[in-house]
């Protein structure tokens, strides 16, 4: 691998406009064999200490705070940071859900009866993964035909990919169950459909992990909102997610994430799946 060139000081009066800036070694730019394609996507239970996470989060919050002029701008930037995570989680967690159920491949085993008060608790994500597992167990034993992606590839283990979630309720169940379990080690505390407006749903978290050391308002919860928003928007359900504090039952820091879907989502739902 070639050594990066030392950074040259650019003399403003020089006529040549060549800039020699150290290139960030992104895997998109290097000629060296990049390792991102050789790492497996299977779940490895790496835990990070809460204090390290809290310090990192606090530093992120203060940097964004310094660079913002208004609270709205601060919240939007924090949202954007979470958005990128949500986008990646969408693909990654769905892919992992397609793997046959072994002890290592799943991020967590959450109870199949989720406590929701949504209209139609179909539990479709759990049942789909169950059927995928049943089909996958017969095939996972024989790995004679290694996939050409390499030995770390998980493709040879998959028989059926997990379904894409096409309905609002399905994907919200996935967020409530799998995504929350991946992020916070437990499914979220409640998934509620608003009775007033048809495009509003609420995900409840009794003890928000990221902001538990931050006193005051809910602005810092926009990060988790961004994660959810990124996840839903890229799956084809554009929405706005906002946090609201609603203490209840002794949980002082209880946060309700209000998800408001765009009109087009409801229209599509009505056209494709409604009127049955």
């Amino acid at each position: 691998m070639s050594q990066p060139e030392p950074q040259k000081i650019i003399d403003p009066s020089s006529s040549s406009h060549k800039k020699t800036v150290k290139k960030l070694p992104t895997p998109l730019n290097t000629n060296a064999s990049s390792c991102i394609y050789t790492q497996s996507l299977a779940f490895t239970k790496n835990k990070v200490s809460l204090s390290a996470m809290a310090f990192l989060f606090q530093e992120m919050v203060s940097t964004i705070y310094k660079n913002s002029k208004t609270m709205a701008e601060f919240e939007a930037k924090l949202n954007k940071h979470g958005f990128g995570i949500g986008v990646r989680l969408l693909e990654l967690l769905n892919f992992r859900a397609s793997l046959p159920v072994t002890t290592n491949s799943r991020s967590s085993i959450f109870p199949s009866s989720s406590s929701t008060s949504a209209q139609n608790p179909s539990n479709s994500t759990v049942s789909a993964s169950g059927s995928g597992a049943a089909g996958g167990n017969s095939g996972s034993g024989s790995t004679t035909d290694r996939h050409s992606n390499g030995p770390e590839s998980l493709t040879s283990l998959i028989n059926t990919m997990k379904r894409r979630d096409l309905k609002i309720l399905d994907i919200l169940q996935f967020v409530h169950g799998t995504v929350w379990a991946y992020l916070f080690d437990h499914p979220s505390d409640d998934l509620v459909k608003s009775s007033e407006r048809s495009n509003e749903y609420m995900i409840v978290d009794n003890m928000p992990v990221f902001t538990q050391f931050i006193p005051g308002g809910v602005s810092c919860d926009f990060y988790v909102c961004g994660i959810v928003q990124g996840f839903l928007t890229n799956a084809g359900f554009p929405c706005r997610v906002t946090p609201h504090r609603m203490p209840q039952d002794g949980f002082d820091r209880r946060i309700v994430y209000l998800v408001q879907f765009d009109k087009q989502v409801l229209e599509r739902e009505g056209l494709r799946f409604g009127s049955n």
Partner: protein, 203 residues
């Protein structure tokens, strides 16, 4: 080249494309096109740059066009439409049903369309005068589309190919420096896709 593969992001920007396979001889490979209704050798459209005027004498340039023309049908199918139900439909136009109901997919003869147990692999979604277009949708709406100028392999092989590329795509996404809808320029990615194609597509 006998096969053209493209990844189109969810905002309809192409992220990656590759021509695979060996160059094909169009005149000789079209002896059995009568079943598709349109005989290619009779199709002579004056186009500057091709000597005999045959539309498919220039498959390299036609392939991206064919793939993008199939995007409408892919968009419809991925949300549960009945567009890809019949493979007997017209050559190259596809049956666009914008208000597909779930019951319309009962007679689909590919992998169940978007209402089957596996709704990522959409199967053959379109024809273009003997070239078949197969598609696969990822969870975020990125579409992997292949134009087969020769006979495509069977569904199991296609699925293995698509799932393999899907896995590579996810690994690309995991790169924190990769911005959404950026073109995928990595040589490693390129090589791995070509290896996959060699194994599953070009038998």
């Amino acid at each position: 080249m006998s096969t053209y593969f493209v990844i189109i992001g969810h905002n309809d920007t192409p992220l990656y494309e590759v021509h695979l396979g060996s160059p094909i001889d169009i005149e000789n490979s079209n002896t059995n096109t009568s079943s598709n209704g349109a005989n290619l050798n009779n199709l002579s459209i004056a186009s500057s740059g091709t000597t005999s005027g045959n539309l498919l004498n220039d498959p390299l340039n036609m392939s991206p066009f064919i793939a993008h023309a199939a995007l409408d049908i892919v968009s419809d199918t991925e949300w549960g439409g009945g567009a890809a139900a019949n493979s007997n439909t017209s050559q190259g136009f596809g049956a666009l049903l914008l208000r597909g109901n779930a019951s319309n997919n009962s007679n689909s003869n590919n992998s169940g369309g978007a209402n089957g147990p596996d709704n990522l692999f959409l199967g053959c979604v379109d024809h273009f005068y003997g070239s078949q277009v197969t598609a696969y949708v990822t969870y975020q709406g990125a579409r992997l589309i292949t134009v087969h100028h020769t006979t495509p392999p069977d569904n199991a092989q296609l699925k293995s190919f698509y799932i393999g590329v899907h896995e590579l795509f996810i690994k690309t996404l995991m790169n924190p420096f990769y911005k959404m809808d950026q073109a995928i320029n990595s040589e490693v990615f390129d090589k791995k896709v070509k290896d996959l194609a060699q194994k599953y597509l070009l038998k």
